[in-house]
């Protein structure tokens, strides 16, 4: 119905080529065309962060981003955070600290938390609170999320000193 165009980009480290309607959002492309359902729809307006993905190293709301805008870029989703050894440290920390309840917001929350720690290895709890303000969670009250983020910061610090 809508005009479509082919785009090529890197998705979780692998090249992909896909034909997308020009009005389609990245979230829909990921979920409906590429089968990556880890990225969630929860508001469609950039208000909740459940659809957070990393594009060229920066997190954004995939529900707002046109899929065509992925062309030539590097996209990482929650599925791409996993390493060959298993969960990445942020995912592991969320599990260990009991930050996951219904878990629906967690892919987005973890993407953003991982990004924050990557940007600022000395992230304070207050920085993390600010950095996660675009990620809504109805279950946890964020407390265990912040504990988890704090533990990853601590690990990183210890690794360096």
């Amino acid at each position: 119905m809508s005009l479509a165009t082919e785009i090529k980009f890197t998705l979780n480290g692998r090249p992909v080529a896909v034909r997308v309607p020009v009005t389609m959002k990245t979230l829909t492309m990921l979920r409906d065309l590429l089968g990556l359902t880890g990225t969630k729809y929860a508001c469609g307006e950039g208000e909740c962060g459940a659809c957070t993905v990393k594009v060229d190293g920066k997190t954004l709301n995939s529900c707002l981003m046109h899929a065509v805008d992925c062309d030539g870029r590097e996209v990482v989703t929650i599925e791409g955070l996993k390493t060959p050894e298993g969960m990445n440290p942020m995912q592991r920390a969320f599990v260990d600290h009991g930050a996951v309840q219904c878990g629906f917001c967690m892919p987005g929350m973890i993407m953003q938390a991982d990004y924050l720690v990557g940007e600022n290895p000395n992230l304070t709890r207050e920085d993390a609170q600010r950095g996660l303000e675009g990620n809504l969670c109805r279950c946890t009250g964020y407390t265990k999320v912040l504990d988890a983020v704090g533990s990853v910061v601590e690990q990183k610090c210890c690794g360096r000193c």
Partner: protein
């Protein structure tokens, strides 16, 4: 049998430890397939046409263009659902022939894609004739109000009453009476995963419905009349859900709509809401007008409490207007109240309608009772802590409604929270600062509440079925009626099984999402699941253990009473010496001359009494209290309240899974904070003006205060290992604690939540104008 010298296995308990949710890793990696993510072969997408007006006659509806659109497989309207009445008082149908509220479902389409379905909705032509409408229960009571429902004169829906003692005498004996009108507002659950159902009929007319329900068994009974089929012909499958919080404790129209579309097309149909639809078409927390009066004598002894409650029923009757069942328990049981007079009347309006929501009725009532405790303490002129302590019940007391407070540690909760936060000193100091100049004011507020903590026998039964098997590899499968909606019963069940059977947590599998497999349970509500399912699991595990140890006795020649299961082995209880690996024993049991498998069943029914028409019964197997102390800073110019710290002390009976308990408490507090400070469904003429997260404000990470949580262990005789239910109290107590803190800081009291910046600023501004 060969004997090796084996290292003894020490006795270690898991009770009170920190156990991870077994589904957390899949959720954290995006692997979990939620219902929202599910796609079935041949599946169609269903979309619903909402009325978008509060009250109207449907003059005509023309779906012919929609039906002709390529890719559309079915279009249904009210005619197709005529007579399919469902709901608490059978006042709802899946698709309407008359409009009674904004989100009334007028038509539904099943199409190949969502895009086509949406286009088809646009092609449906409806001609409405708008009718005079009712937007508040007060207006609905007026003689001049239009009657909204044929069988409900004066727009009266449900009514509840409870009276105990002589009110006039008690009033006369009171030196002080607090008399206020509280107006708890409309809020909604905001589950991050929007509402979704997938329905599919087989050729024998049996329905399979994948849905987010948190009460799969009674759900069948409630869904059946909406489809005109037998409850037994419904199979309910519960894939992982993005939250529920009470919103999925009833059947809502999108579920039968999915099923009606599936029946019509012969294909699976998925209905899923957008966020805007979720805001508009989901149940709300019950809005109410509570006229409460509480009296006490000069020495601070409570004399009576009365509540005259008017409920905004909305257009249909779901669980919302039944909240008086709990409201009256709080009115009569929150502190020792000798005389009680409670009445509640629900009035039909053209507003959205309420379901159940974490804290069910008690959030609203405690907002009133806990503020009146603060108001009365000031009237008597004693420290609220002393006032609370004076009226706090003790273990063994019985409330006027016959709630038996077998283990009651209210006083300990009060003292713990007050001590930890330095409450009395700070309250006096902040009150002294109140009149002095300065933009930012600090305040501290204390609130407590009582809630059922051992289920609530609102049905004939409050029980649960459990099936437990241990296979040849010593892997345990628990097949239970207990639903998992994110709250963490999975971790609790794992912990209990591991505790009883001495197997590793990773060796336990829970099957609890298919009504054709798992046995009956009432559902996840009333803070009951750890209590009820915990007991059920423990009993089943103990039966399995008895069977295993009996077999061990036979094989090892040692008395079963002297044996234990620990670390995956049968051990001597006294010294811990392992005698045989559990899996080996199980295989021997299986392959012996008289073979046996370990598979046990249990049905647990708590020793509570059904809620009767007179509302006098011990309806829960346990009751519990929580105290919250809120410390806040108020910007008296902008009206912004910053919550600096919450100190909580809650009777949890016994800590089972500490991590899960903390998580439930933290999350409950966050929902309570949103209710207190920012969440508000802005309804104008029955229409929701803020159906988005931009304008409906959930609490965000930066707004979370510091939390100091104290878990008081009262060791409940009936609860599993002494535990009580915990989930709702944290949500219940927070708003009045903040309201009391606001008064302490500013001298301003707000009776209609949320305590939004504008409301606070205006109240302070008006007080100052008045003062000048």
């Amino acid at each position: 049998m060969e004997q090796k010298v084996a290292t003894p296995i020490e006795k270690k308990t898991l009770i009170g430890s920190r156990v991870k949710k077994p589904d957390a890793a899949d959720k954290a990696t995006g692997k979990t397939r939620y219902i929202n993510d599910m796609v079935l072969p041949q599946m169609l997408i269903g979309k619903v046409l909402f009325a978008g007006r509060p009250h109207a006659k449907i003059v005509s509806i023309d779906v012919s263009a929609a039906e002709r659109l390529p890719g559309v497989h079915a279009v249904l309207t009210g005619k197709d659902a005529a007579g399919l009445k469902f709901g608490f008082v059978r006042d709802n149908v899946p698709l309407k022939e008359k409009v009674l509220c904004e989100h009334d479902e007028i038509a539904a389409v099943a199409a190949d894609t969502e895009e086509i379905a949406l286009k088809a909705l646009e092609l449906i032509k409806v001609e409405y004739e708008d009718l005079p409408a009712v937007f508040s229960p007060e207006a609905g009571r007026e003689a001049s109000a239009p009657q909204l429902r044929e069988n409900f004169p004066d727009n009266k829906s449900l009514r509840f009453e409870f009276k105990h003692g002589d009110l006039a005498t008690a009033e006369a004996a009171s030196d002080f009476i607090a008399d206020n009108i509280f107006r708890p507002h409309h809020v909604t659950h905001c589950c991050m995963g929007t509402s979704c159902a997938i329905a599919d009929f087989d050729n024998n007319g049996k329905l399979t419905i994948w849905t987010q329900t948190q009460y799969p068994y009674n759900y069948k009974m409630d869904l059946a009349p909406a489809l005109g089929i037998a409850p037994g012909d419904i199979r309910v499958i519960q894939p992982p859900v993005g939250g529920a919080f009470g919103s999925k404790l009833d059947v809502y129209p999108y579920e039968p709509i999915a099923a009606l579309l599936a029946r019509k097309t012969g294909r699976p149909v998925k209905v899923i809401y957008s966020r805007e639809e979720e805001f508009k078409a989901s149940p709300t927390r019950q809005a109410a007008i509570i006229h409460m009066r509480t009296g006490c004598t000069r020495d601070g002894t409570l004399t009576f409490r009365s509540a005259d409650v008017l409920l905004d029923n909305g257009a249909y009757t779901s669980w919302g207007p039944t909240i008086p069942v709990i409201m009256m328990r709080t009115t009569s049981g929150h502190y020792r109240v000798p005389v009680v007079d409670f009445q509640a009347q629900a009035i039909y309006t053209n507003n959205p309608y309420a379901g159940s929501f974490r804290g069910y009725g008690n959030v609203q009532t405690t907002f009133a009772t806990a503020q009146q405790m603060d108001i009365l303490a000031d009237q008597v002129d004693i420290d609220p802590l002393a006032f609370h302590l004076k009226n706090a019940q003790k273990s063994g007391e019985v409330t006027p409604q016959k709630s038996f407070l077998r283990e009651c540690v209210l006083a300990e909760c009060l003292e713990t929270a007050a001590r930890a936060s330095d409450y009395s000193r700070k309250r006096a100091a902040y009150a002294a600062e109140r009149g002095k100049p300065g933009r930012y004011k600090k305040g501290i507020g204390l609130a407590s509440s009582i809630h059922n903590a051992g289920g609530a026998k609102i049905h004939k039964s409050d029980g649960i079925g459990t099936i437990l098997k241990v296979d040849d590899y010593a892997r345990v499968t628990v097949i239970t009626g207990a639903s998992e909606i994110g709250q963490g019963i999975d971790a609790v069940i794992n912990l209990i099984v591991a505790e009883e059977l001495g197997v590793p947590l990773e060796h336990i599998t829970i099957i609890n999402n298919d009504s054709d497999i798992a046995p009956w349970d009432v559902g996840v509500h009333a803070s009951r699941t750890t209590f009820i399912a915990g007991n059920g699991t423990r009993r089943a595990a103990r039966k399995a253990k008895a069977q295993i140890l009996k077999a061990a006795e036979k094989m090892l020649g040692e008395p079963a009473a002297a044996l234990e299961l620990r670390g995956g082995s049968v051990v001597r209880d006294q010294c811990g010496t392992p005698l045989i690996k559990l899996d080996r024993l199980l295989r021997q049991m299986h392959f012996q001359a008289e073979p046996e498998l370990v598979m046990v069943t249990d049905y647990y029914e708590p020793n509570s009494q059904p809620e009767g028409a007179d509302h006098v019964s011990d309806h829960s197997a346990a009751y519990s209290h929580a105290v919250h102390i809120a410390e806040i800073t108020v910007d008296t110019l902008t009206g912004e309240i910053k919550v600096d710290k919450i100190t909580s002390a809650q009777d949890v009976g016994r800590v089972i899974n500490r991590m899960g308990l903390e998580a439930q408490t933290e999350g409950g507090i966050a929902i309570g904070l949103g209710y207190a400070l920012s969440e508000n469904m802005q309804l104008e003429g029955g229409m929701l003006k803020n159906p988005c997260f931009r304008d409906y404000k959930l609490i965000t990470a930066p707004e979370m205060p510091e939390l100091e949580m104290h878990f008081i262990e009262s060791h409940c005789a009936e609860g599993p290992y002494g535990a009580k239910g915990v989930s709702e109290l944290p949500t219940i107590v927070i708003a009045p604690a903040i309201a009391n803190a606001l008064f302490n800081a500013t001298g301003v009291r707000i009776f209609n939540p949320p305590l939004s910046p504008e409301k606070v600023a205006r109240a302070i501004h008006e007080t100052r104008q008045g003062g000048n």
